[in-house]
């Protein structure tokens, strides 16, 4: 039997609220609204300027209190677990923030490459790290988020097919895939062919064989899949797609489970994106910025976005697929030697021969890329291998403590529990009252009332036990109790329907007193 790690009780989440239950932190616009006439004293002629601008004017102490109070009305991974399956948050190591704040890193993207060798060195190093970790031959760091990475990867696939004179019209995507996969394929102009899940929760290979054709541009797949299962038939799946002339795209959402144990490139994937926040612990900032680097095999490297970074004198892009590429480069003294002795710059930008062009105005989310690089460098081989070990251990241990069924296994870093007869979204609201962030609910759809859970490696045994208690207590609560949950949070159950039926999207749209 499971021993209680802590007393299980419902707890308040209301740091920023006074006890009378009636006082919200006011909007900035409720603190002040000052109207000015910008054109009044302008050096510009009247017809180029606006007549009025009304915005809050508040003092710095008020500003500090406003945002401090708002921050206290917000969950974060430094407050507790964030086990959102397929979304999740790892602890974001503080030192990566310190590294990213280096004033010498604050350079403009139009600087002459010769004058930003440090920036290019980091970008090159990250390209190489990611290529090795994914088993890919070349990597672009330009996509500013995972979905942008998907778009980049599918655009590369399209360019590849067009270059080879084959007109493909379809992208195959498992029904359980992330919504971004479908939207990405559609944005790139492809028809989506949805592949139902097999009875065991994996790709139904027969259905795949029936779905592929000469029209197949690509299959988009994540592995382990959305319920944490390894697609054991991946080598065969790759053959089926390749034999039809298609490419295999890897959605990097679940790479954390495989670090150091399997690489998409070795499984037959041709294109992949990396999820840097779930894998390399970059902060998510309440919804972004992210980064969605894309790796490809050698035949696709010439289609990557421009520019790429390479060492001066190298004629091919990154080709570090065999590992061991950094055993020597790790020594800072070596790096010093190469730069100070060199006559010219060590790194340069280049445009891949048949580049698809650009997917971001400049070079992507630099401050996120720095953090990912610093994290990989901190962990090294052993840390990365341990991350996948502990992420998988944690998911399995947590699942073993739950009163809910977990219908599919063996799973790795995440699992889909089922709330069965209960409403998964209600159970999740109930969990809020026990001081944890709940899992992703009602997705994937092939699991009844799914509660998709991914604790990551950063939770310890006790934290997992607390999380399990929250799960089990909420699961056991009465329907009435859950229907009204949460009871202990800053805001009670928020009415989504009213928000959508009558959209009020700015303070301009609010009635007095609203």
């Amino acid at each position: 039997m499971l021993a209680l790690a802590t007393e299980v009780a419902r707890v308040n989440f209301d740091q920023a609220r006074f006890g009378d239950d009636t006082r919200n932190e006011p909007l900035l616009s409720e603190k002040d609204a000052t109207a000015v006439d910008p054109g009044e004293n302008s050096v510009l002629p009247d017809d180029l300027t606006r007549d009025s601008l009304e915005l809050p004017r508040i003092s710095e102490p008020e500003l500090a209190r406003h945002y401090t109070r708002l921050s206290q009305m917000n969950w974060s991974v430094e407050l507790g677990p964030y086990p959102l399956g397929s979304c999740t948050m790892k602890y974001n190591p503080s030192f990566t923030d310190a590294v990213a704040a280096d004033p010498n890193a604050a350079v403009h993207p139009d600087r002459d490459p010769e004058t930003v060798q440090g920036t290019l060195e980091l970008l090159y190093g990250l390209q190489e790290y990611l290529a090795t970790i994914g088993g890919m031959d070349a990597v672009t760091l330009q996509p500013p988020a995972g979905a942008a990475g998907e778009f980049t990867g599918i655009a590369v696939a399209k360019a590849y097919h067009q270059h080879h004179g084959t007109d493909k019209s379809e992208v195959i995507i498992p029904a359980s895939a992330h919504g971004t996969n479908f939207a990405t394929a559609a944005m790139a102009g492809y028809d989506v062919v949805e592949l139902p899940s097999g009875d065991d929760g994996r790709v139904d290979v027969e259905a795949l064989e029936a779905a592929v054709s000469e029209d197949t541009a690509a299959l988009m797949l994540t592995n382990p899949n959305t319920v944490g299962l390894f697609e054991r038939d991946i080598a065969h799946i790759a053959d089926v797609v390749h034999d039809a002339g298609g490419l295999l795209y890897y959605d990097g959402a679940n790479l954390n489970a495989l670090l150091g144990r399997a690489r998409p490139g070795d499984m037959g994937f041709d294109i992949m994106h990396y999820n840097v926040h779930k894998t390399f612990a970059t902060p998510h900032g309440g919804g972004g910025p992210g980064a969605g680097p894309v790796g490809v095999v050698e035949e696709l490297a010439e289609f990557l976005p421009r520019p790429q970074v390479r060492k001066v004198g190298a004629d091919t892009p990154a080709a570090a697929a065999d590992g061991g590429a950094f055993a020597d480069a790790g020594d800072a003294d070596d790096v010093d030697d190469t730069t100070e002795d060199a006559d010219g710059p060590e790194y340069e930008l280049f445009d891949p021969a048949r580049s698809i062009g650009k997917v971001h105005g400049f070079s992507g989310n630099w401050l996120v890329l720095i953090r990912a690089y610093a994290y990989i460098r901190r962990l090294g081989d052993e840390g990365l291998l341990d991350a996948s070990a502990k992420a998988t251990l944690n998911a399995n241990y947590l699942a073993s403590l739950l009163d809910l069924d977990v219908p599919y296994g063996p799973f790795h870093h995440e699992f889909a529990a089922t709330a069965g007869e209960r409403d998964a979204a209600d159970v999740a609201k109930g969990m809020l009252d026990y001081g944890v962030h709940p899992p992703t609910t009602k997705w994937p759809e092939f699991v009844d009332e799914a509660m998709l859970t991914e604790p990551t490696e950063v939770e310890n045994k006790r934290s997992l036990e607390d999380l399990a208690h929250a799960f089990n207590e909420a699961f056991a609560d009465s329907d009435e109790e859950l229907h009204d949950a949460p009871h202990k949070t800053t805001a009670r159950r928020v009415d989504q329907t009213s928000a959508a039926r009558d959209p009020r999207l700015s303070w301009h749209a609010l009635e007095d007193g609203e």
Partner: protein, 446 residues
Amino acid sequence: MSGRTAGSSGSPFAPHTAAETAAMLEALDVDSEADLFDIPDEVAFDGEFGIPQRDERTVRADLRETFARNDDLTEFLGRGHYAHYVPAVVDDLASRSEFLTSYTQYQPEIAQGFLQALFEYQSMLVELTGLPVANCSMYDAATGLAEAALLAERVRSTSGTTVLVPEALRDGKRATLDNYVDGSDLTVETYPYADNTVDLDALADRVGDDTVFVYAETPTVTGAIEPALAAVGDLAHDADALFCVGSDPVALSLLQEPASVGADVVVGEADVLGLPTSYGMGLGLFACKEDYLRQVPGRLVGKSEDAADRRAFTLTLQTREQHIRKERATSNICTNQAWVALRAAMHAASLGPEGLVALAEDCVRNAASLAADLDAVEGVEAPLDDRHHFREFTVGVADAPGVAADLREAGFAVHVLDDGTLQVCVTDLNADAADDLVAAFAEVVR
């Protein structure tokens, strides 16, 4: 097995002691974590990456050394990526872990703080653009422009397919736009500038029945303030095309309100507030008319009520988005630039309306002053047009690449546009070095 000691080589951020790991493995009835993995041998990786583990101090020292390889130049660079002085209070508040280490607000009951901050950000953009709907961000100005073009294709009932953009559009925007429209029926065509702003006669010739979208910028990529926005809007609307204005929140504090010149959509780089120079990382501003609400890409925060009938905020109209609508979503965007939006709102709030307008006025005055000083240097002509300028302008010299190289030796970075044209950008951050730049020009232009 040892406990978590200094010499331990696992992940420093996996908190398990050896005893805990052992207990968990025992509970699961396996000998090691490796037994939990279900990876067939044929695809298992048994090699090494060859990346040594390093302690935190070493990583920081390594990266300091790496960044120190960037030359210390005073940048007079803009062309779409700008920075103004960001008050320390913005860094301090935005770095609070409740903001920085939170995820998307899928459980609004414990995310009211960030939701309110994003609602306030949207509200500020509504005020600055005069348009009633602003989303809580795109990645950057380039992807914002591209999404706006795709929006035009979705909202129009007529059959036009031509997107018109300036010839002088920055390459990063044009190339991103080209990629985004590649999967649609849209084609991108250009119209010329005259004197660095819209050539209205030429644009009138190019706008036609097939035009679905007309894009104009103010300030333009070379810093000229567009004097004919309303006329451009009229041309677009006469053709039943959507009119999109590109700008930024500092410029919008002073320049004509886009809604007043007929803008249907406004895009741009909102990271001019809140974000220091960061190698092109951005914050895509996106605002539009209410008619297009159900077609807006990206996240929207709306006001609602909670079960106790108090004001509460939530992500809303999510049926537009990919996680609900899949291939019929308005965009594939999921993660955006929320934290940068938070910073921009904080910076705007710290400036207030007078502060914003004053900052914008400085962008005009500093550019005019530097242009006049450069123009006084023999062999230098600045600006190369008769427009008013915002932050930046073009500069004529005999040998632009040579002058830029010499300036670099003197410690300055400027843009080279072609053999005879440079571009310089001056803001509050480099204005105190403007005299030195002028002196350096005088030195190197012979």
